[in-house]
């Protein structure tokens, strides 16, 4: 009961942020310097075309009215219509979202698989050689552009070793699963320097805390102290680190879809950009923000299960 109340309360707390997000996305079109209609339709657009554009976007009405219309369409799940495809933006997004979600799943799994062991190896022997080497990873890794990491993986694992497909999404589920390995790995490589550093720091805090000292002084073998006592408590910082970096993970995926020619939301966004298809860019931006807000919410809910210290009242 109290957990349901907690989740409901968290949902309510999301409302101001969600409203803010819609306001920002709504105002994107008003950031266009000069007349948006002219900017989109070009200098040779006829007056009737400009009028039609203004009408379509409600630009001939006052700002609050425009925002209200935008919001009421949004509540009904209407993100507008794509100029280019002449299809509802929601339809386009639904067609592409699977690919992006699969990429995010791969990236998350790979990030955990890289981060947790390395952070653990570093933290269990502070200031040893292995710790120093692992602490050196962020120095080099943080400066690597995600898309460049992707190209380097294409070059080495794809073209030279021919281990993985170098681009595309393939046909059928098995192809999809296989073609996502390199993109997922790329995003994980790009984000791991940040997650390793944060998780190492959290692990150090845990390994130096009283309950670990107690466990050791009771004569429990070190392997068990770290494997059972410390690891259980490291789950929470691991979730925190992942959720704090979800923005980078999603952002990295958007760019990586371009590198590997994957038909996901990122690609849809860039198509929108190059077709000057405003509704599409707006819609995808909004969907990404909603995705991240939901991840934050999910993180809090997971905390409430994993960490008994989270108070539900």
């Amino acid at each position: 009961m109290s957990r349901i109340a907690y989740i409901l309360r968290r949902l309510l707390q999301m409302i101001p942020t969600a409203l803010g997000v819609t306001i920002l996305v709504f105002f994107l079109i008003h950031l266009i310097p000069g007349d948006p209609a002219r900017a989109f339709l070009g200098p040779h657009a006829t007056a009737s075309l400009v009028n039609a554009f203004d009408k379509r976007w409600g630009l001939n009405q006052s700002l609050p009215v425009q925002y209200w219309l935008f919001l009421s369409r949004l509540v009904r799940g209407d993100l507008g219509t794509s100029f280019f495809y002449q299809l509802p933006v929601t339809t386009l997004i639904m067609q592409r979202i699977g690919c992006t979600l699969l990429l995010l799943l791969y990236a998350t799994v790979f990030t955990i698989a890289i981060t947790v062991p390395l952070a653990l190896i570093a933290a269990t022997k502070r200031d040893s050689l292995r710790d120093h080497i692992i602490r050196g990873i962020p120095l080099v890794g943080l400066g690597m552009p995600t898309f460049w990491v992707g190209i380097m993986l294409i070059l080495t694992l794809g073209l030279k070793l021919q281990l993985f497909p170098v681009g595309g999404y393939g046909n059928g589920l098995l192809d999809h699963l296989w073609s996502m390995v390199l993109p997922g790995l790329t995003v994980a490589f790009a984000i791991s320097p940040m997650t390793i550093r944060s998780l190492r720091a959290s692990m150090l805090g845990i390994l130096e805390s009283d309950f670990v000292t107690t466990a050791r002084s009771k004569g429990i073998p070190e392997r068990r102290v770290i494997g059972i006592h410390a690891m259980r408590n490291a789950v929470i910082p691991a979730i925190t680190v992942l959720s704090l970096n979800i923005g980078w993970l999603v952002g990295g995926s958007v760019v990586i879809e371009q590198v590997f020619a994957l038909p996901g939301l990122g690609e849809l966004m860039f198509e929108g950009i190059f077709n000057r298809d405003f509704a599409v860019v707006q819609g995808v931006t909004l969907v990404f923000a909603v995705l991240i807000i939901l991840v934050y919410l999910a993180t809090d809910i997971v905390y409430s299960f994993v960490d008994p210290r989270v108070r539900l009242t």
Partner: protein
């Protein structure tokens, strides 16, 4: 020398001693980082001396040449000298990455300090704005901003400012919440100093260090953003050379001329390394524990 300082000043507080013990040139990360940064800046500034080629000049008789004594890093698909493009590209990209850090630093620090100091409505407004920006993936928001503003350096400055002030605001607010309860601030308040004077003259110098340390990694983030935009075709428009666009154009020749995409990426990594080292070193220097 250090020992002497320590011995002769036993009454110095912990803070002062920490600084006296480690002057900046005794922090290896800082020295190596600064050395690298000076070298990189030198290469960019001396570009006209270091290469006889014009980075925008095409020579279709000499395309896709491998590295040689005439063309240190070879030529690209339009016969442009890659070493020249790299050096001149550094001028463009690094300058924008650095300048784009300044306004967010000032704005974010100001908002964060005010938010932490006054609390209440100011805090609520600033923190809601931060939450909204943080709800977007950074890349997506910047790409969307650059899209609506049109390509070019000005758009990049505006987009980065709109997004990256939040990091500084969060850092400064946190620092302010700690500083606010400390005795020197309480003393300044009870002495009847104005809020402007307390924040500007007393708190700012004590809280700004964290923001400055972050600023070094922020320049790296800006550089990554700029080359990413360049790669995606939304960056500095040609003919101005840009590392991101170099990587993009090289991608078509990966099987035959892999160095075209690899080299500019390595350049970004080296710049990132230099700035990360400086950041770590500064954090060491300014740590007061």
């Amino acid at each position: 020398m250090t020992q002497a300082v320590r011995a002769s000043a036993p009454t110095l507080g912990e803070e002062t001693r920490a600084i006296a013990v480690r002057p900046w040139y005794r922090i290896p990360t800082l020295v190596i980082g600064l050395g690298l940064a000076v070298a990189i800046a030198g290469l960019a500034l001396l570009a006209p001396v270091l290469t006889p080629y014009n980075p925008t000049m095409q020579n279709l008789n000499q395309i896709l040449l491998p590295p040689s004594s005439a063309h240190l890093l070879g030529t690209d698909q339009l016969g442009k000298d890659v070493w020249a493009e790299l050096l001149y590209g550094a001028r463009v990209d690094l300058q924008i990455a650095f300048i784009a850090m300044l306004l967010p630093l000032v704005l974010g620090t100001t908002f964060g300090l005010l938010s932490g100091y006054f609390g209440g409505v100011v805090d609520a407004v600033v923190m809601r704005a931060v939450e909204v920006i943080v709800a977007f993936p950074v890349y997506v928001l910047i790409i969307a901003f650059v899209f609506v503003l049109g390509p070019g350096a000005t758009s990049i400055y505006i987009a980065i400012t709109l997004v990256s002030w939040v990091s500084y605001a969060r850092i400064s607010r946190g620092e302010m919440l700690v500083a606010k309860t400390q005795e020197y601030v309480l003393a300044a308040r009870s002495a009847g100093l104005s809020n402007v004077r307390i924040i500007g003259r007393h708190i700012l110098p004590n809280t700004v260090t964290q923001s400055i340390v972050f600023a070094t990694s922020d320049v790296v983030l800006n550089l990554l953003m700029i080359v990413t935009l360049g790669y995606l075709g939304l960056g500095i428009p040609p003919p101005s050379p840009d590392w991101g666009r170099m990587i993009y154009q090289g991608q078509s020749f990966l099987t035959t001329n892999w160095q075209l995409s690899t080299i500019p990426g390595v350049a970004v990594v080296i710049v990132g390394l230099a700035l990360s080292l400086i950041g770590d070193g500064l954090a060491d220097l300014l740590r007061r524990e």
